[in-house]
């Protein structure tokens, strides 16, 4: 009976953490690989967060472009972050999560700009939020939006 309780309370969650770690890591590595490829394709566009547009773009047609992505946490990330709150230090699992969301949003913005035939994107801003509100147990992820002025 004790073994059964131990099984329910400990082994199932731990094996779930293990499985989710493997799948989550796989998805993350694949995502990073894809991001690097897409970033290289779009590297021809000038990207800056300067406010003033120089005179050489005086003839350019400005368009507001934006890209956003919602990336979910996984079971392992939540578990690892929970441990981190006990000992303190950098939450590496969440750092990569934010990086993925931010880069994905940026790539989408650049893809939109490239689709419009733009050669530069000025005044880029990032905006971050979560989709689960204050309920930390509810499903959700981080949302990052990037927006800027594309010049054609």
């Amino acid at each position: 009976m004790i073994f059964f309780q131990l099984f329910i309370q400990l082994i199932i969650p731990l094996s779930l953490v293990g499985v989710c770690f493997l799948i989550g890591k796989g998805i993350e590595l694949h995502h990073f690989k894809k991001l690097t490829q897409r970033e290289q394709q779009l590297s021809g566009i000038i990207v800056t967060n300067l406010k003033t547009i120089p005179l050489e773009y005086a003839n350019a047609q400005p368009i507001l472009v934006m890209g956003s992505a919602v990336i979910a946490t996984d079971y392992f990330k939540v578990f690892a972050a929970g441990l981190r709150t006990l000992f303190g230090g950098e939450m590496k699992s969440y750092v990569t999560l934010m990086e993925r969301a931010r880069r994905e949003a940026m790539v989408r913005l650049l893809e939109q700009a490239a689709g419009q035939g733009a050669s530069a994107v000025w005044n880029i801003r990032y905006e971050t939020s979560t989709t689960h509100g204050q309920h930390r147990k509810k499903p959700g992820g981080v949302e990052v939006q990037a927006y800027g002025t594309a010049l054609r």
């Binding site: 779930l16 003033t52 949302e143």
Partner: protein, 114 residues
């Protein structure tokens, strides 16, 4: 209508400032999306349902802002900013604001002289 998030528009001169315009919306997805998202939360990855939700709401708030600008008789909105806040699980509040202005294209030859 020209919409930019810079303070000036290249090749244009601001003639008149009509004032601050804004648009906001709070939207949610149906419960099926929420269930799918909670399953996705086990292994991670992109929550496409929620990305869609954010994109839709952002377009909605932008459209409301532009409608307001049109009502004021502006032909451009400059310095557009987006803000996001989370009210409850599965819902998002999107807010965007900018300055409605009346602009005029500058004659480029004149711009070089002056």
């Amino acid at each position: 209508m020209i919409v930019v998030n810079t303070e000036t528009i290249p090749g244009h001169r601001i003639l008149q400032i009509k004032g601050l315009v804004q648009g906001n919306t709070v939207r949610a997805k149906h419960v099926g999306r929420d269930i799918a998202a909670s399953l996705k939360n086990l292994v991670g990855g992109e929550l496409t349902g929620y990305t869609e939700l954010m994109v839709e709401s952002r377009r909605e708030s932008l459209a409301r802002m532009l409608a307001q600008a049109q009502q004021l008789g502006a032909n451009a909105v400059v310095n557009v900013r987006f803000a996001t806040s989370s009210i409850t699980a599965g819902a998002a509040e999107l807010y965007c604001y900018g300055t409605a202005v009346v602009v005029e294209a500058i004659d480029l030859g004149a711009g070089e002289n002056g």
